[in-house]
Symmetry: C2
Subunit: 331 residues, 2 copies
């Protein structure tokens, strides 16, 4: 204890903090829990074979978004998107949401309306009902928290654990585009036709609900996670929970072709560590790989191994050092 | 629209904001919704006669609490207590919670542990499982958001609507003590044996889960609300939703006897408008009043009337003007 006394969260990191939370909250004395702290969402059994999926995410001004280059409706959209992505990554369907907003006094009501409209437009698209919430005053910064429920047939749920050596590693779509979009916004570069897509990938991420349904319907996956914190860290998290390792092949990672042509190093860096891509990463047992390739032709990026290490390999087979392992809060 | 364009939230108030939210989010295109925006919690049907109750509350430093006189574990306790109170006020049992914390960088981990321990100790008491959440960086102020689920038999659920003229108006316990406790803390007065109870009522409110169970088991109530925002405003909200009025008798409001003896005016002001009392306010049909009085001997405070006005009456029958109608955010 004495060693830990002076520690700040910055030194501990988010993952150390989660371990502490697990210890403090402990195992609940209530039946029905399938998955608690430590996956993209919690899972509780309701009835025979149905399960409730339950997640929450908090976004704070100047940490997760900036009013300098993000509109209020973009912020609303993304606050819901990150939660829907967590539900989709469990193989579940989003259902009911609650929104809490901490609003700096003096903000025009029109802007709060726009934030709500951003939430509502994405909610409408995926048939999510926003059925309550809390609106409070904030001394200075805008805070948005959404809690989201989802539903699934119990046996369809996919966890971070479940991957086995020999499984293939897949992503649902191109990675690194959101980080490129953020850089364009940060640099206030002129928006071209090409950059508009990248900016949209950052501001209005599309949670992969349809892809998640496909993966579940075809029983493609043995495990799944969303890669919002970055591809590399997400592979590591999935492997840690599954007690396996992985090899990721650099030249197989699906990139935006223009970014890859202009600056391949940069494009790969964004893909591996940029974060904010709300794609799904999933593992596919051998007998399902053909089907997975038919549905996600550019999705195969590597394979699960027995040893516990995650290696990123260049086309010549050399191990590549990944500089920043994704976006970890507090570090 | 033009009229509204320049409005700030401070001018609109929380209740105006909720109406706008209802309009923007609309009726969800998903079956099962029993109660959306506009009560203490949302209600969704699951299965034949079971319902899911769903609520969330956000607490922000220097708005809802101050680190000057509240410990981290007190803040954790209260963050969960306010949510449990919302679930109890629907006649439901709390089950599963998620916690989001926005932590200023540099805060020692020990303090975050204490916050979690405050949550965990109340969770343990009411068999609530804290099964996930989100930990993020905050630029300066501590933010805590909890989302809480509850369960109930569908026919047992109590809403703000449902009160009828002739029903009696009850509270579960003394009111005004929390506001008195806050004043002692704010003034940094020396803590005496008498004031310790008042301070505890403010720092560690006890959500009325047992009382809620009693009310449901004996089918005592036609409507219910928690009075965290103040007794007077809560009577008004319940009456507005039930489309009725009420008479509240000043001399019937259960007060702390020492506060009432020392300064009756002040004690009543705290009771009517102080807020932070996590008691339940409920309406009792005539044929149940005897039973209600047996269970809550000091609970009867008035009656529901046909006209839409809420009147607070002195012992001589004069109408009393209540200065501040409870704690409304932004105003």
């Amino acid at each position: 204890m004495a060693q830990v006394k002076g520690l700040t969260l910055g030194q501990l990191g988010e993952f150390g903090l989660i371990q502490r939370a697990e210890r403090i909250f402990g195992r609940p004395d209530r039946p029905g829990l399938v998955q608690g702290i430590g996956d993209d969402a919690a899972v509780v059994k309701i009835g025979h074979n149905k399960a409730l999926i339950y997640t929450t995410d908090m976004l704070i001004e100047d940490v997760h978004f900036s009013l300098k280059y993000e509109g209020f409706s973009d912020i609303g959209w993304k606050a819901l998107a990150v939660n829907i992505s967590d539900i989709a990554s469990m193989g579940a369907t989003p259902t009911w949401g609650l929104i809490s907003v901490g609003v700096p006094v003096g903000i025009p009501v029109d802007n709060v309306d726009k934030l709500a409209q951003g939430v509502a437009s994405l909610a409408h698209k995926y048939h999510v009902g926003i059925i309550g919430g809390d609106t409070v005053k904030s001394p200075d910064r805008l805070v948005v928290n959404i809690a989201l429920l989802g539903e699934a047939t119990a046996k369809d749920i996919l966890f971070r654990h479940g991957a086995s050596p020999g499984d293939a590693l897949f992503v649902t779509n191109r990675v690194g585009e959101a980080a490129a979009g953020l850089e364009i916004l940060r640099d206030s570069r002129p928006v071209t036709r090409d950059s508009r897509l990248l900016i949209k990938r950052y501001l209005r991420p599309e949670p992969r609900v349809k892809e998640s349904r496909l993966i579940v319907q075809h029983r493609l996956a043995s495990s799944m996670i969303d890669i919002s914190d970055g591809l590399h860290i997400s592979v590591k998290l999935l492997c840690a929970q599954s007690k396996v390792g992985a090899r990721v092949y650099l030249d197989k990672i699906p990139l935006n072709s223009q970014l890859a042509t202009r600056n391949p190093q940069q494009a790969l860096q964004w893909a591996l560590s940029g974060g904010e891509d709300y794609e799904l990463l999933f593992t596919v047992p051998k007998n399902k790989i053909r089907k997975a390739l038919a549905l996600f032709p550019y999705g195969w990026i590597g394979e699960i191994t027995k040893d516990n290490s995650v290696k990123v390999l260049s086309p010549t087979g050399r191990e590549v050092k990944v500089r920043k392992t994704g976006y970890e809060h507090f570090k």
